[in-house]
């Protein structure tokens, strides 16, 4: 990266940070606003009095828990579950909210046997469901298990007949299509949040950052740390997490990437450095958390029915936040001086430097906002997917690469379009193929697109060299 020395313009530096502060504040404001509207969703940590005795985890206890619902969607009350294992042999019963929980003091496998005679008439246990089921209980953790109850009848001899439904695994009904479509948009939005940063970093520095997935994971895990371990309010936890993620970007650029650019390291070398960083971070996450999946929000997700589509409240909020933040990023890129400067650096760093843009400063800002956006994406993913683990971001990284390659390497709006396409493809694949293949199809599409239009949707011909 050639950087011409350009006279510093102190007021410009101030402007950048004022802008960065504005963006952070805007994100905060959005989070707060949306948070206020849905506070009940996040505040349902204390179960209603009639519910089964709540179970709280501590250093010496863990919880087995779950929610059982009737086919109508109402909670199934009074379902009996025999729980055996460790030093326990007991029966848990679902409360008025359909929830059951059992405290355990010994980690290890537990068998849960649902007493099918306690299921109300007109409903049976889903024939695909495992009963009895075995779950691995652990201390200091909530372990959930779901029994699915479907419509059906039980004959006198105990055999059950399920009311036929459209084949859930592969059937293509219009409702299912809508549901997957909405899931696809959700994944696309969250993917876009993370991918825009990756694309901007690539555009301004030529670096394919393989550690970007770990930035996403970091966001989710920090939110877990603040919201769950330290017990902060979820919104506050999210804001702090995003701020810390932004700081990691700032200091990463200051401590690693800027000096390396100065040394004149090639982009291939830099790419391999990010791989090393990615390995180190992955195992650092495992060092502290192990391989377990942790939940940011301990409350059971509340679902909202929108016509035929069921979505958790967290998903709706996350989508709203993602849309607002993406719109904000788009606005900044198109309408503000700093956005124009970023795009100029993306186009041609030397020319940008020659026309008086402080390239290093723009790159620092790009790193900071890219990691902040990745962190936000991680927090939202953790809420939407109901958990984060050390490889949440890792699994997303390839989809991000696919998205930005589809959209055109290095173009911010291409990344948005690419992310939406990839998100939809991944979720809609589920309609016709089993879940194992959903990521694979996205990658196949990537390869096919490269065959026909290697520069991607928004890329220009000369970029692909």
């Amino acid at each position: 990266m050639t950087t011409l020395t350009v006279p510093k313009r102190p007021e410009g530096r101030v402007r950048v940070w004022r802008l960065a502060a504005m963006i952070t504040m805007a994100i905060t404001a959005v989070l707060l606003l949306v948070g206020l509207g849905t506070t009940p969703a996040f505040a349902t940590t204390t179960p209603p009095p009639t519910a089964a005795a709540a179970c709280a985890t501590s250093d010496t206890t863990g919880c087995l828990q779950g929610t059982i619902k009737l086919p109508s969607g109402d909670p199934a009350v009074g379902i009996k579950l025999e729980i055996k294992g460790g030093d326990l042999d007991t029966v848990a019963t679902t409360g008025s909210d359909g929830k059951w929980s059992q405290a355990i003091t010994v980690a290890g496998p537990y068998t849960i046997n649902l007493d099918t005679s306690s299921i109300p008439d007109g409903a049976v246990l889903d024939s695909a469901a495992k009963n009895p089921a075995t779950v691995n209980g652990a201390l200091k953790k909530n372990v959930g298990f779901v029994f699915k109850i479907v419509g059906g009848t039980t004959a006198d001899d105990g055999t059950t007949t399920q009311t036929p439904t459209t084949d859930v695994s592969t059937g293509v009904s219009f409702e299912r299509f809508l549901q997957q479509l909405v899931s696809g948009i959700r994944l696309g939005l969250l993917l876009a949040l993370a991918a825009v940063g990756l694309s901007l970093i690539f555009g301004t520095t030529g670096l394919s950052n393989f550690a970007h997935g770990e930035q996403v994971t970091l966001g989710g895990l920090l939110a877990y740390l603040f919201a769950n371990v330290l017990g902060l309010n979820l919104i506050l936890a999210a804001v702090i997490s995003v701020a810390i993620c932004a700081a990691t970007g700032y200091f990463q650029d200051a401590a690693i990437w800027k000096p390396l650019r100065r040394r004149g390291l090639g982009t291939t070398q830099l790419m391999i450095v990010t791989i090393g960083l990615s390995i180190a971070l992955q195992y650092a996450f495992q060092y502290f958390l192990g391989a377990s999946t942790v939940r940011i929000d301990m409350a059971n997700p509340v679902t909202v029915q929108l016509g035929p589509v069921a979505l958790s409240q967290q998903s709706l909020v996350s989508m709203a936040i993602a849309i607002v933040v993406i719109a904000l990023v788009g606005f900044v890129l198109v309408k503000t001086r700093i956005g124009r400067a970023t795009r100029a650096v993306s186009d041609n760093p030397s020319l940008a430097a020659a026309s008086g843009i402080d390239v290093d400063r723009i790159i620092r800002l790009v790193w900071t906002s890219a990691t902040a956006l990745a962190g936000l994406s991680g927090v939202l993913l953790g809420l939407v997917l109901n958990g984060v683990n050390w490889q949440t971001g890792l699994q997303l990284l390839l989809l991000m690469f696919a998205a930005i390659t589809l959209g055109g390497l290095g173009t911010a709006f291409g990344a948005l379009a690419g992310a939406m396409i990839i998100g939809l493809v991944v979720e809609l694949t589920n309609l016709v193929l089993p879940g194992d293949f959903k990521y694979a199809t996205a990658l196949v599409i990537l390869i096919l697109v490269l065959l026909v239009r290697p520069q991607g949707i928004f890329g220009r011909r000369e970029r692909i060299g």
Binding site: Q269, M271, A280
Partner: protein, 329 residues
């Protein structure tokens, strides 16, 4: 002191294990891509997996071992063609993304529940199902053989027969790479790495040479896959993205574009990991770092080592800095 000895023995054992040889072979293949031709192949684990599946499934299907081996090589050639045709005319990072994606596709399809009858799904295939014909080839006889600090069965899995054949393959491939890289063909590859346009100006078909290099390195990767699964079992997830990263780490540690770099790198890679783990286990109290965590700590050190090697000594232990400009275009 006891623990130090345990660590030392573990390192010595890992230094000659077939797994290390497999990593070395995969790195030799990657060396042809990355070290000599400058191709950014991030899917070497995919080649391994292709080779491993083709070999294991052919043997289970009742084919003779030689035929199974050939099928594995042909599968790797096809995989290389599929990867190379759309990407080798494009800039280097496109090949990187496509190879990385393709390797993941192979892994996902391999572990898919739809194919459980053929690939064993996510449980994979146990070694006993395909190991038989190879064990039968052994002329090492039964019983145990002691050799210095190493003490193994002569023929059983993880025994001397597996170790000897694995390292014999490594030696053959080293000789092969040494020979072809001093041939005119090898010089064209290096030329492509240094300046593609100059080679094109000399009238060489760069695309074709790159494709040949991709196929050759990929086939060696498939052999690595076979060597890797013979003493163990075939599990799709054991040859995922991390495997590719480890192969890269081994190659860069030892020195890219050198004949013995990949081999030395593979040995050092495992030795370093065990050494860090052993030292951490010995000197850091268990209250700060438990057994599980020493292992993860060792991997963190590996990641940081990779960063430092690339920054401060990109030519690795054996490489020549002048030869390796290292920047793929």
């Amino acid at each position: 002191m006891d623990q130090f000895l345990t660590t030392l023995v573990a390192i010595l054992n890992s230094a000659i294990s077939p797994q290390t040889a497999a990593l070395a072979i995969a790195a030799i293949g990657l060396n042809i891509h990355f070290g000599y031709t400058g191709l950014l192949n991030f899917g070497q684990a995919g080649f391994m997996l292709i080779g491993a599946y083709a070999f294991a499934i052919s043997i289970i299907g009742g084919l003779p071992i030689i035929l199974a081996f050939l099928i594995a090589l042909v599968a790797a050639v096809l995989f290389a063609l599929i990867l190379g045709i759309p990407t080798l005319k494009l800039r280097g990072d496109y090949l990187a993304i496509v190879t990385l994606s393709a390797a993941e596709i192979v892994r996902m399809v391999g572990r898919s529940s739809l194919l459980t009858n053929i690939t064993g799904g996510s449980n994979g295939i146990t070694g006993n199902e395909y190991r038989g014909p190879f064990t039968d080839l052994s002329f090492f006889g039964d019983g145990r053989i002691d050799f210095g600090p190493w003490n193994y069965d002569a023929t059983g899995s993880n025994g001397w027969w597996f170790i000897a054949t694995a390292w014999f393959v490594v030696a053959l491939l080293c000789l092969f790479v040494w020979a072809i890289m001093r041939s005119p063909w090898g010089r064209v590859l290096r030329g492509i790495r240094e300046d593609e346009d100059a080679v094109r100006a000399l009238g060489k078909n760069v695309y074709s040479y790159k494709m040949q290099a991709l196929i050759l390195g990929g086939v060696i990767g498939a052999i690595a896959g076979i060597v890797y699964i013979l003493p163990a079992s075939l599990q799709a997830d054991s040859m995922g993205r991390s495997m590719t990263y480890f192969i890269f780490t081994a190659l860069l540690l030892g020195g890219a574009a050198t004949v013995f770099g990949p081999v030395l790198g593979a040995i050092v890679f495992f030795a370093l990991r065990l050494l860090v783990q052993g030292l951490a286990g010995q000197f850091v109290p268990g209250t700060i770092m438990n057994g599980q965590q020493t292992e993860q700590f060792a991997w963190i050190v590996i990641g940081i080592t990779l960063m430092l090697v690339v920054i401060f000594r990109p030519q690795g232990i054996l490489g020549n800095k002048k030869e390796l400009s290292f920047d793929v275009k």
